[in-house]
């Protein structure tokens, strides 16, 4: 997939409002593969909604979203499954980890589906992000910052054309967010993928091609 086009898109809940001032809502926006985007937003402007629309979790929006020119509303269940497995990876703001599984199992449950990374590569990431000692711990016992790093690793164990990272570093310190940014960029470069991160203030230090205000 080479492009995601947001064509006149607007969440249904905003439909009544007349004063929509945004770089994305009600605009024609093209997100291209290989480029890095920052979506800046204040709370309640529909940042997480945007991610949900793109990943196909929610469909309560006006206008359309096009993947390489194909309307997302026309995709079937199997198309969405393929899209989530091979084209768009998502780092959820609420992380969506499985509390009863260990940190490693949370990553493996995704990697067993895609078979994309070796165990060694995954362990290398745990090492780099400073949570190697937490690999076998149940993820519910980890701090939110540590969980964010596990979720990041899970988002990377699949092929993707775009990586959507919804507030990826909200609970990370400088050092860790730099390490995370480096790993993310490295993997995206390797795959030639685009990155879309959202932020409500603190944002990842990345060479952004474009900053969009929601």
């Amino acid at each position: 997939m080479n492009s995601i086009v947001l064509d006149n898109t607007l969440p249904n809940v905003f439909l009544g409002r007349g004063d929509t001032k945004s770089d994305i809502w009600r605009q024609q926006v093209t997100l291209e593969k290989g480029k890095t985007y920052l979506v800046e937003a204040s709370s309640g402007t529909g940042k997480s909604s945007l991610c949900s629309f793109i990943i196909g979790y929610r469909k309560d929006f006006d206008g359309s979203i096009l993947f390489d020119g194909t309307d997302s509303r026309k995709l079937h269940t199997s198309d969405w499954t393929q899209l989530r497995q091979r084209h768009i990876s998502m780092l959820f703001q609420e992380l969506r980890l499985f509390p009863e599984l260990t940190a490693m199992e949370n990553v493996e449950i995704k990697n067993s589906l895609t078979g994309f990374k070796t165990r060694k590569e995954i362990e290398g990431w745990f090492q780099a992000l400073g949570i190697a000692d937490k690999m076998q711990s149940p993820v519910r016992l980890l701090s939110f910052g540590q969980q964010q790093r596990v979720a990041m690793i899970r988002a990377l164990v699949q092929p993707f054309d775009f990586l959507l990272a919804d507030e990826p570093i909200s609970h990370l310190d400088e050092t860790n967010s730099r390490v995370m940014a480096a790993i993310m960029m490295e993997e995206a470069h390797r795959q030639g993928a685009g990155i879309v991160t959202t932020s409500i203030g603190k944002h990842m230090d990345l060479p952004y091609d474009k900053t969009l205000c929601l």
Binding site: T77, R96, F98, L101, E108, K110, L113, T114
Partner: protein, 400 residues
Amino acid sequence: MKLVWKLLRRHISLPQFAGFFFANLLGMLIVLLSLQVYRDVKPIFSEEDGFIRPDYLILSKRISALNAIGLGSVNTFSEREIRELESQPFAKRVGAFTASKYKVSCSMGIDGVAQIGTEMFFESVPDAFVDVDLKKWHFSEGDDFVPIIVPKTYLAIYNFGFAQSQNLPKLSEGVVGMVEMTIAMRGNGRNEYIKGRVIGFSTRLNTILAPESFIRWSNERYAPEAEAEPSRIILEVSNPADDAIVNYINGKGYEMEDDKLDAGRMTFFLRLVSGIVMLVGLLISLLSFYILMLSIYLLVEKNTEKMRTLLLIGYSPARVALPYQLLTIGMNAAVLLITACMLCWLRTLYLQRLHTVFPQMTAGSVWAALLLGVALFVIISLANALIIRRRINRIWNNKS
């Protein structure tokens, strides 16, 4: 898959699943056992001699003292009476017994030396009413051999009455089947012989039976002038327990061989009882299915968020549904297996008892019940799998 199972097995309620398991086991066992008992017991009532089926009745006219001295009404059935009987709603088919109208005598011997001989007679019914291998049951003009079916009581009379008092050897059914008889037929100025052999025994039909083609040919040959009105009628009915039959027959003053009707009634009663029991079993199965579905709904409800996450990270609805589908199918298969084993075990128990009461019984096969079990398993499992998949689809569509 292992990890997905580790995730989704949370909140599985053991008591609920055990409840389903035993309820389904009980329901299935009742359904299959009622069918099996029905199939095993039915032959006792209906196919004891494998000759005349229970839905056949044999009618005759009452012989009064006046008949005996040659006065009073005739005791044969006229053409009109047969047609009237045929037109009754309960009658499916009507066949007449035709008797031989000439003198018949028969002698049995071994190595051509006549041992015993007797005067006798033949009767026939249409071939369609004879429930033996029709390959053996035929005669055509020019044949020098005629197959015969005799009542079992004849053999008993010989064995326990005659043979005993005369110091003659007792004969088994098999031996009698091997003995060749010489049948002498006299009439119309002829005196001719034909070979005959007993090919079957009947405990119910009280006559010596020869093929209809033989009787027709021999009556024409030895007694061409004799009137051919039958004195007994065989009647196939759809439901022997029908009151209308008894009313009609009593109204006409006919006589009926009673045990047929009793056997018919018993079969009907057996069918009714096993039908009711089977229905109760099905009801229990249905309720157990309901319990399972409620448990699954509850389970899916409790694990909805996890399933949604699995779907969002790229798992297909089919893969998310699979663990629960396999769980239910596995349980159904275990139920089927245990039911089959229990069925076979219970069957040997009751068959032992039945054999002591009816030593000659031949039990039905167990395949029909097992087939029904497999059919139930397939239906229940398919319904389970489908319902689970639909629940997952609801999560996919964000409806729950």
